[in-house]
């Protein structure tokens, strides 16, 4: 036996029937509740703000944001990188922990995958709107057009288009395939005709035949095997958007792994930000146990330390390389106009997470939630700093200029958060937030004490 006593992955007395009943009841029987309605109303209002913002942008153009030369990339790109990064951790938890046979993954993967799908969907809005003429976004796709023009395959922006497209479709498909057996459970449990038809159509007639399960498991395994390199490649492409440019502060070969670590860091934070309230409000303490929260906190700390290492390396390489523009840019981050953003980033992403070394902090859910929020804020500021600090001091002093956000910059950020939570709240009401069939399998595997 293992010498370290760990909290169990599943608490309470559960049978294959009781896990199914408890999870499906949340969707089928539980009244909507005031907290949910309030949250939904709030999320809906912010989504409305985003919709108005998009309307204004289509009429007026990207000028409604505070963009200008030299800072032609700012909030929208920071928002894009921030959201797509949050998505990465969902796939990583689901796929990498599946391949490494971690049984504590079972309670997290469903809502983490949902988080991925919604975060990637939200992130995709920004680069399209940023195009200037968003209605021509399909020009990025290779097709035999009348203009006789093809995409420029050497451009990292074209690679990024392919990466987001593949990632969005694969994450939706991965999420949906994993849902099919659970949709069948909901179809069989539903009592009203409307729900039976709704879940029945989505379940595609799944019956759970042994040979069907075999193909299903083969597919899950292979999809997980594809998803892990996909996560790494997609966020590396996002990093290449920057490092393919020759700007000091962007043109760095450490960017792809640095970005991937940052993505997992902020994604784990979002998993905790979503998981702690879900567990509390929906009474999921038996499924999302201390073990899950502690493990997520440790993974967040590990990813965070890698991010911190990258910060140190970035600074070191600037001085070690002795390129005068690189050194100036780096010093400018410490003391320049955006120094407060740099120090906020350091406070959030370097100092705050050191608290996670303490087991007492990891067991304190409120503290864990707070640290995760701080990490999310810190990672947003990091992206903002990275983009703007390289742009606002151009090579020619005559071209220097500051970036000031407009109301719409803030509205798009708040609105995208609203849209994400709107989608997530709908998911919580309409779909099982834990994977029932995997919980049944886990109960069966744990046998004895839970049988």
């Amino acid at each position: 036996m293992n010498a370290v006593v760990r909290p169990p992955v599943l608490c309470g007395q559960h049978s294959v029937a009781s896990v199914t009943d408890q999870v499906s009841r949340i969707v089928l029987d539980r009244p909507t509740g005031r907290v949910w309605l309030l949250a939904f109303a709030l999320a809906f209002a912010f989504t409305g703000l985003l919709a108005v913002g998009i309307g204004c942008l289509l009429i007026e153009g990207v000028g409604i944001w505070g963009l200008d030369i030299p800072v032609a990339w700012a909030f929208a790109i920071a928002d894009y990188v921030w959201w797509i990064a949050i998505g990465m951790a969902g796939t990583f938890i689901s796929a990498a922990l599946y391949l490494t046979r971690q049984d504590w993954r079972t309670s997290l993967n469903r809502y983490a995958e949902a988080m991925t799908v919604f975060a990637v969907s939200v992130s995709g809005i920004f680069p399209i709107l940023h195009l200037g003429r968003p209605w021509f976004f399909y020009w990025l796709a290779p097709y035999p057009s009348r203009m006789g023009v093809w995409p420029q395959w050497r451009s990292s922006l074209v690679w990024d288009f392919f990466a987001i497209l593949a990632y969005l479709i694969v994450s939706i498909v991965y999420f949906y395939v994993g849902l099919i057996p659970d949709l069948a459970s909901l179809r069989d449990r539903a009592v009203t005709r409307g729900k039976q038809v709704f879940y029945g159509l989505l379940a595609l007639g799944w019956r759970g035949e042994a040979r069907h399960w075999q193909r299903f498991e083969t597919l899950s395994l292979l999809l997980a095997g594809l998803a892990v390199p996909l996560v790494f490649s997609v966020h590396s492409m996002v990093a290449l958007d920057f490092s393919e440019a020759i700007l000091p502060g962007w043109h760095e070969s450490i960017f792809p792994p640095f970005f991937v670590a940052g993505a997992l860091f902020s994604g784990f934070a979002m998993v905790l930000v979503l998981g702690i309230p879900l567990r509390h409000w929906f009474g999921l303490e038996d499924f999302i146990t201390e073990r899950h929260l502690t493990n997520m906190a440790k993974m967040m700390l590990a990813a965070g330390l890698f991010v911190d290492y990258s910060y140190v390396w970035e600074i070191f390489s600037a001085f070690y390389g002795m390129d005068r523009y690189d050194v100036t840019m780096t010093v400018n981050r410490f003391v320049g106009a955006y120094a407060w953003v740099f120090w906020t980033t350091i406070f959030c992403n370097v100092l705050t997470i050191q608290l996670l070394w303490s087991p007492r902090v990891r067991r304190n859910h409120l503290a864990l939630f707070g640290i995760s929020v701080v990490v999310l804020i810190g990672m947003w500021f990091e992206r903002f700093l990275l983009i703007v600090s390289s742009l606002y001091r151009d090579f020619l002093p005559a071209r220097w200029g500051m970036f000031y956000p407009t109301f719409w910059d803030l509205a798009f950020l708040a609105g995208s958060i609203g849209l994400f939570f709107l989608l997530f709240l709908l998911f919580v009401r309409l779909l099982p937030m834990l994977s029932m069939f995997e919980l049944r399998k886990l109960v069966h595997k744990l046998g004895g004490q839970h049988g």
């Binding site: 199914t20 395939v177 042994a210 193909r215 292979l222």
Partner: protein
């Protein structure tokens, strides 16, 4: 010996192990058209039912090759034949730069081929199935383990199936209308 009045005979077992044992027993007793329904994947059950046929991996390989090689071919066509652009004197066929989109499309096509292949091989979507007429069958997605002896089995006979299964502690049992 096909009994047109019935889809088959459905028997419930209390546990995955009980079902697995029953499947093995029925196979040795000579039944060939057996189906087993479980609320979660049970290891070894598909193999016990007969020689498995699982082409999902092959389909995913083909999909991945199609996506990857197809994208490389398209990039070559676009940059070398259809729309050559001299950018800083770099070769038109810049293979290293062609790899990122090809990699993404490899993953995308493999995943899509796998999903469509899994559904196709499983005969899904199939919104109507005779088993859905059996009320008890709803337990197959909760805690019920079911064995179905299909009516097109050469040995099929409801009385005989009941007799053959008597020693295996079956639970609920009944005929499935077509």
């Amino acid at each position: 010996m096909t009994d047109a009045a019935s889809h088959g005979y459905l028997v419930e077992f209390a546990s995955a192990e009980g079902l697995l044992e029953a499947v093995r027993y029925m196979r040795t007793a000579g039944y060939t058209r057996l189906e087993a329904y479980t609320p979660f994947p049970v290891e070894g059950l598909a193999d016990a039912l007969g020689p498995p046929r699982n082409r999902v991996p092959l389909l995913m390989l083909l999909g991945g090759l199609l996506g990857g090689v197809g994208t490389l071919a398209m990039e070559y066509y676009a940059d070398v034949i259809a729309y050559p652009l001299d950018i800083g004197g770099r070769p038109n066929a810049s293979w290293p730069a062609f790899i990122p989109p090809a990699l993404e499309m490899t993953v995308l096509f493999a995943a899509l081929f796998g999903v469509v292949g899994m559904l196709w091989a499983n005969g899904l979507p199939r919104l109507y199935h005779p088993l859905f007429n059996v009320d008890r069958f709803a337990a197959a997605s909760r805690d019920g383990f079911f064995l179905l002896v299909r009516a097109d089995d050469p040995q099929y006979d409801a009385v005989r199936v009941t007799h053959d299964l008597a020693g295996l502690a079956p639970g609920w049992a009944g005929e499935v209308p077509p």
